[in-house]
C-alpha cells in the first residue's frame, strides 16, 4: 500500500504531537514553562478517541453512504466493556469494600454478580468484549437493515432509535450497569494507577498509535477493490446491484468494521475521562460525531480526524470561555458547513487537486431525477 502525502503527514503529526505532549508532561518540571499539565494530556487523549469515532463514521458515511445517527452507541458499548473491567479492578477499595460486587450493586442490595459481569476481571476478555459486543450489535442490526434494503433517511432514523433505546435501557438500574451514574471511581488499569500522570501519558500515546492503525486500516479498505465497490454502492446502489454485486454484504462488512473501530475508541476513552454513563448514548452525541466528519470533510478519512480534533478543541474552548455561545456556534457550524462547505475543511485544501471524486454528485442527480 502506497501512502499519499496527506496521510503520511497525518500519521506523523498524530504520533509526533502525542509523543511531544507526553514527553513534556513526564520529563519537565511542573514549574517549568515547557511543562504540559496532565489535564491537557487527558484532553488530547479524549480528542484522539473522538477521532476514532469520527473515522468510523466517515468510513460508513463517506464511503458507503450510510449516515449513522447512532454510532456513539458502539462507542459507548466499547466504553462500558472497559468500564466493567475497571470496576472489577477496584476490588475491596470501593466504598463498601466488597471484593466481588461494584459499589452500585451493593447499594442496590444485590447479592451476586450478574452472569454478564463474569470474565470482565480479565483485561483480555474485556477488550475482546469491547470489540465483540459492538460488532455483534452492528452485525444483527446491519444484517436486518441492509438485507431488507432500508436506506438513506430511514436507516438514519432507525439508527437514532437504536441508540435512543440503548440510552433508555442503560438508564435503568436493573440493567446492572450503574444506571444513571454509570461506572466511575476507577483505580487501576492492568496494574497501573489510572489517575497517575505516567498512565495518562501512556494512554495518550497508545490512543495515537491505535488511531493511526485504524486510519491505515481504513485507508487500506477504501483503496482496495472492496472500497471501490463500496463507493459504487454509495453513489448508485441500484446500478451496483444490477451489475451483479450484493450491496448489502459490502455494507454489512464495512458497517461491522466501523462499529469495531468505534468500540475501540470508546474503550480507550473511558480510562482517560474516568467515567462512562448512559448519556454517552444520547442521540445528540452521535449527530455531533457526524458533524465532526462533515466539518473535516466527508469521505477523506484525514478530514474525519482533523474535524474531530478541531470541533472538540473548539468545544472545550467555547464552553470554557463563552458557554452561552457554544450551542449557537455548534448549530451555526452544522448549517454553515452543509450549505457552504459540503466537502469540509479538507475540501479547501484539495480545491486544487482535480482528481478528487465528487462525493455526492451522482446521488444528487439521481435524487433530482426522482423528485423532479
Amino acid at each position: 500500500m502506497k501512502l499519499d502525502r496527506t496521510s503520511s503527514i497525518t500519521i506523523v503529526a498524530v504520533i509526533g504531537l502525542s509523543l511531544i505532549l507526553a514527553f513534556l508532561n513526564q520529563m519537565t518540571d511542573v514549574a517549568s514553562a515547557a511543562h504540559v499539565p496532565t489535564y491537557v494530556i487527558a484532553l488530547a487523549g479524549k480528542y484522539l478517541c473522538f477521532a476514532m469515532l469520527a473515522l468510523a463514521v466517515d468510513l460508513v458515511w463517506g464511503f458507503a453512504g450510510i449516515l449513522s445517527l447512532g454510532h456513539a452507541a458502539f462507542f459507548a458499548l466499547g466504553g462500558y466493556a472497559m468500564g466493567m473491567y475497571l470496576m472489577r479492578q477496584i476490588g475491596t477499595r470501593g466504598v463498601y469494600g466488597n471484593a466481588m460486587l461494584p459499589d452500585f450493586m451493593v447499594f442496590l442490595g444485590w447479592k451476586e454478580l450478574p452472569w454478564y459481569w463474569h470474565g470482565f476481571e480479565w483485561f483480555g476478555f474485556a477488550m475482546l468484549m469491547a470489540v465483540l459486543v459492538p460488532a455483534t450489535l452492528a452485525g444483527v442490526f446491519g444484517w436486518l437493515a441492509f438485507r431488507s434494503r432500508v436506506t438513506g433517511v430511514y436507516l438514519s432514523i432507525i439508527t437514532q432509535a437504536l441508540t435512543y433505546a440503548l440510552l433508555l435501557a442503560f438508564f435503568r438500574n436493573d440493567m446492572g450497569f450503574g444506571g444513571n451514574n454509570g461506572l466511575t471511581d476507577f483505580k487501576d488499569i492492568v496494574g497501573f494507577n489510572v489517575q497517575a500522570d505516567s498512565t495518562r501519558s501512556a494512554l495518550l500515546v497508545i490512543s495515537a498509535l491505535l488511531l493511526c492503525a485504524q486510519f491505515l486500516l481504513a485507508r487500506f479498505v477504501v483503496d482496495s477493490r472492496f472500497g471501490k465497490i463500496l463507493i459504487a454502492v454509495r453513489d448508485t446502489e441500484s446500478r451496483t446491484r444490477f451489475l451483479g454485486y450484493r450491496p448489502e454484504s459490502y455494507k454489512l462488512v464495512v458497517w461491522i468494521l466501523s462499529a469495531v473501530m468505534a468500540g475501540i475508541g470508546g474503550a480507550l476513552y473511558v480510562p482517560q475521562v474516568g467515567i462512562i454513563n448512559p448519556s454517552e448514548f444520547a442521540p445528540g452525541n452521535s449527530i455531533e460525531a457526524v458533524i465532526w466528519v462533515a466539518v473535516g470533510g466527508r469521505g477523506t478519512l484525514v478530514g474525519a480526524i482533523l474535524g474531530a480534533i478541531l470541533v472538540n478543541f473548539g468545544k472545550t474552548w467555547f464552553t470554557g470561555a463563552l458557554p452561552e455561545i457554544w450551542l449557537y456556534a455548534l448549530g451555526a457550524m452544522f448549517i454553515f458547513v452543509t450549505l457552504f462547505l459540503p466537502r469540509g475543511v479538507m475540501g479547501l485544501f484539495r480545491a486544487r487537486q482535480a482528481k478528487e471524486p465528487e462525493p455526492e454528485a451522482p446521488a444528487v442527480a439521481a435524487a433530482h431525477e426522482v423528485t423532479g
Binding site: S156, R172, I335, V337
Partner: protein, 537 residues
C-alpha cells in the same frame, strides 16, 4: 424526687378510678368531661365512649360539640358541665347552646384528647356528616364510613338510610352499611349474605379487598364472598383493559399532535426536519407568552387564553417555518442527509435562542378551569385535559386533511408533490408552495405545542423529547399518508400502554422502539406505503 412521684401517681390512679366509675352513666356528656379533670387511660376511654355515643344519639347539638372537641374548644368545669368556647372567647353551654355569661377561663379546663380519642372524633364527625343537608357531603361521609367499615357506625347508617332521598347517596350508604355488617361479629347470616351481594354490585378494588378477607373462611358467606371476588375480578379486568385503551389513545393523541406537522414536512415534502421538535417548543412558549400578556392586559379573557394561543402559535411557528424554508431548506432539496444535519444545527440554535430569551428553567403554563377536573365513567377516571387533548388532536388532523383536500392551497401542494414540473408548467409558483407547505407543517407543530404545554414541562428541551417518537410515527404509518400517521400514532400509544403494566414504563418504550426498528426492516415504507413510481427514491 421518686418518693414524691409515687404517691402522686397513686392519687391520680385513685382519682381516675373514681372518675371512670362516676362516668359509667349513660349520659355521653358526662363521659366527655372526664379527661378535663383527670388524665388517665380510663378517662380517655370514657371520652372516647362519650364521642361514640353522642355521634349515634341523633342529638342536634352533637355535631357542634364533637366539632368543638376536635378543635380543642370544648371545656368542662368541676361539676362535669360542658361548655363550648366561642371564637370571641365567651362560653356557651354545650348541651343547650345557651350562652353562659358567668363562666370565665378560670372556671373551666379543656377536655383533652389522645390518639384513640382523635380517631373516635374523626369517625364520629364522618357519621355526623351522614346527616348533613348537602348531598355531596353525605356522599363523602358514606365513602369514609365504607373505608373504615366500623360496626359501631351501624345504628347511624340505619338511621341515615331511612332518611336518605338521594339515590346515589343511598346506594353509597347501603354499601357502607354492608361493609360495616361484614365486620360486625354478631350480624345474622342473611344480613351478611345480603351485604356480600351489595359489595359484589359495587365491584371495585375496595369491595374486592373486603370480600377477599372473607373468602378464606368456611361457610355459605365465605362461598358467596369468593364467588363475588371472582365476578369482581372479571369486571375489574374489563375496566383495566378499557383504562389501558384510554391511556393508549391519550398517549397516541399526543404522539399524533407531535407528528401531524411532521407528516406534512417529512411525509409530504420529504424534508427531514430535525428542528420539528423546536417548532413544537416554540408553540408552547407562545402559549406562555399569550397567557402572560392576557394576565397583564386582559384579565377578563384569561380563561380563554389557550384558545387565543392556538392561532398565535400557528402563526409564529408557521412564519418561522416559512423563513427557515426560504433561507435554509430550499438550498438542500434532494440532499436529505445534508438537510438532516442543517436542521439539527437549526434546532440547537433555536433551543439556545429560547434559553437566552426565557431562561433554562421550566415555565408555568396554567390549565384553565374548564380543562381541569375529571369525569368518572364506571371504573374509569377520565381527566378533562386528556379528553380535550384527544379531541383537539383529532380536530387538528381533520382540519389538516380538509385543508389539503378542499383549499386551493392544498390542491397546489398536492400538485407540486405529485409532479413538480407539471405543476410549474401549469403556472403554480412551486417555490412559494414549498415555503407555504413547510410553513403549514411548522404551524401545525406550533399548535401541538399549545396542547403539549398543558401536559409537559415548558422548557427549551421540550421538543427533543418528541422528535424521535414523531419520526417513528410517521415512518411507521407510511410516509405521505395522514391516515397512516393517525393510525400509527394510536397503535403506538396503545401498544405502549398495554406493555407498561407488564414491563414497566421505560422497558415498554424500549420494547416499542425495538419492535419499530424490526417493523421498519420488514416494511421500509410503513404500514400504508404510497403506490406508484414516486416511491422508489
Amino acid at each position: 424526687m421518686h418518693r414524691l412521684i409515687a404517691p402522686l401517681l397513686l392519687v391520680i390512679l385513685v382519682l381516675a378510678g373514681w372518675g371512670a366509675r362516676a362516668d359509667g352513666i349513660d349520659d355521653a356528656y358526662d363521659a366527655l368531661s372526664a379527661s378535663a379533670l383527670t388524665i388517665s387511660p380510663a378517662s380517655f376511654d370514657s371520652v372516647r365512649h362519650g364521642v361514640e355515643q353522642l355521634a349515634v344519639s341523633g342529638d342536634p347539638r352533637a355535631a357542634v360539640v364533637i366539632g368543638a372537641l376536635h378543635d380543642g374548644m370544648l371545656y368542662a368545669n368541676d361539676d362535669h358541665a360542658l361548655f363550648v368556647q366561642q371564637p370571641d372567647g365567651t362560653y356557651v353551654d354545650a348541651r343547650t347552646g345557651a350562652a353562659a355569661p358567668d363562666v370565665t377561663d378560670d372556671d373551666v379546663k379543656a377536655v383533652r384528647v389522645n390518639n384513640a380519642v382523635r380517631g373516635a372524633i374523626d369517625g364520629a364527625l364522618g357519621i355526623l356528616q351522614l346527616f348533613s343537608p348537602d348531598s355531596p357531603v353525605r356522599l363523602e361521609a358514606a365513602s369514609a364510613v365504607f373505608t373504615s367499615h366500623d360496626p359501631a357506625a351501624l345504628p347511624a347508617l340505619d338511621k341515615a338510610l331511612a332518611k336518605e332521598t338521594d339515590p346515589a347517596v343511598k346506594r353509597r350508604i347501603e354499601q357502607a352499611r354492608a361493609a360495616a355488617l361484614l365486620s360486625a361479629p354478631d350480624a345474622s347470616q342473611a344480613d351478611r349474605l345480603a351485604a356480600v351481594a351489595t359489595l359484589r354490585d359495587r365491584g371495585d378494588q375496595d369491595a374486592r379487598s373486603l370480600l377477599s378477607a372473607l373468602a378464606g373462611q368456611t361457610g355459605p358467606v365465605a362461598d358467596a364472598a369468593s364467588a363475588a371476588v371472582v365476578s369482581i375480578d372479571r369486571v375489574l379486568q374489563i375496566w383495566s383493559i378499557a383504562e389501558s385503551v384510554y391511556y393508549g389513545i391519550s398517549l397516541g393523541s399526543v404522539l399524533l399532535l407531535a407528528a401531524a406537522g411532521l407528516a406534512i414536512t417529512f411525509g409530504v415534502m420529504g424534508v427531514i426536519n430535525m428542528a420539528h421538535g423546536e417548532m413544537v417548543m416554540i408553540g408552547a412558549y407562545v402559549t406562555f407568552v399569550v397567557q402572560q400578556l392576557m394576565h397583564a392586559y386582559l384579565p377578563s379573557l384569561y380563561g380563554i387564553s389557550l384558545l387565543i394561543a392556538v392561532p398565535m402559535a400557528f402563526l409564529v411557528s408557521g412564519l418561522i417555518g416559512v423563513a427557515v424554508e426560504r433561507s435554509l431548506i430550499r438550498w438542500l432539496y434532494g440532499r436529505p442527509l445534508e438537510t438532516l444535519l442543517a436542521t439539527w444545527g437549526l434546532s440547537l440554535v433555536l433551543q439556545q435562542v429560547v434559553r437566552s430569551l426565557f431562561g433554562a428553567n421550566n415555565r408555568d403554563v396554567d390549565t384553565p378551569g374548564w380543562m381541569s377536573g375529571a369525569y368518572q365513567l364506571g371504573g374509569l377516571t377520565l381527566t378533562w385535559n386528556r379528553m380535550y387533548i384527544i379531541l383537539f388532536a383529532f380536530l387538528v388532523v381533520a382540519a389538516l386533511m380538509a385543508a389539503l383536500r378542499y383549499t386551493p392551497l392544498g390542491l397546489r401542494m398536492r400538485a407540486v408533490t405529485q409532479n413538480r414540473r407539471m405543476a410549474a408548467a401549469m403556472g403554480i409558483r412551486t417555490p412559494w408552495i414549498d415555503a407555504l407547505t413547510f410553513g403549514l407543517g411548522s404551524g401545525v407543530a406550533g399548535i401541538a405545542g399549545v396542547a403539549l404545554s398543558q401536559i409537559d414541562n415548558v422548557s427549551p428541551n421540550l421538543g427533543q423529547g418528541y422528535i424521535i417518537d414523531s419520526f417513528m410515527v410517521v415512518v411507521f404509518g407510511g410516509v405521505g399518508n395522514l391516515w397512516g400517521t393517525t393510525l400509527g400514532a394510536l397503535t403506538l400509544g396503545i401498544v405502549n400502554k398495554f406493555l407498561e403494566p407488564i414491563a414497566g414504563a421505560v422497558l415498554a418504550k424500549i420494547v416499542v422502539l425495538v419492535l419499530l426498528i424490526l417493523f421498519v426492516q420488514r416494511n421500509p415504507r410503513g404500514m400504508f406505503p404510497l403506490k406508484g413510481r414516486a416511491v422508489e427514491a
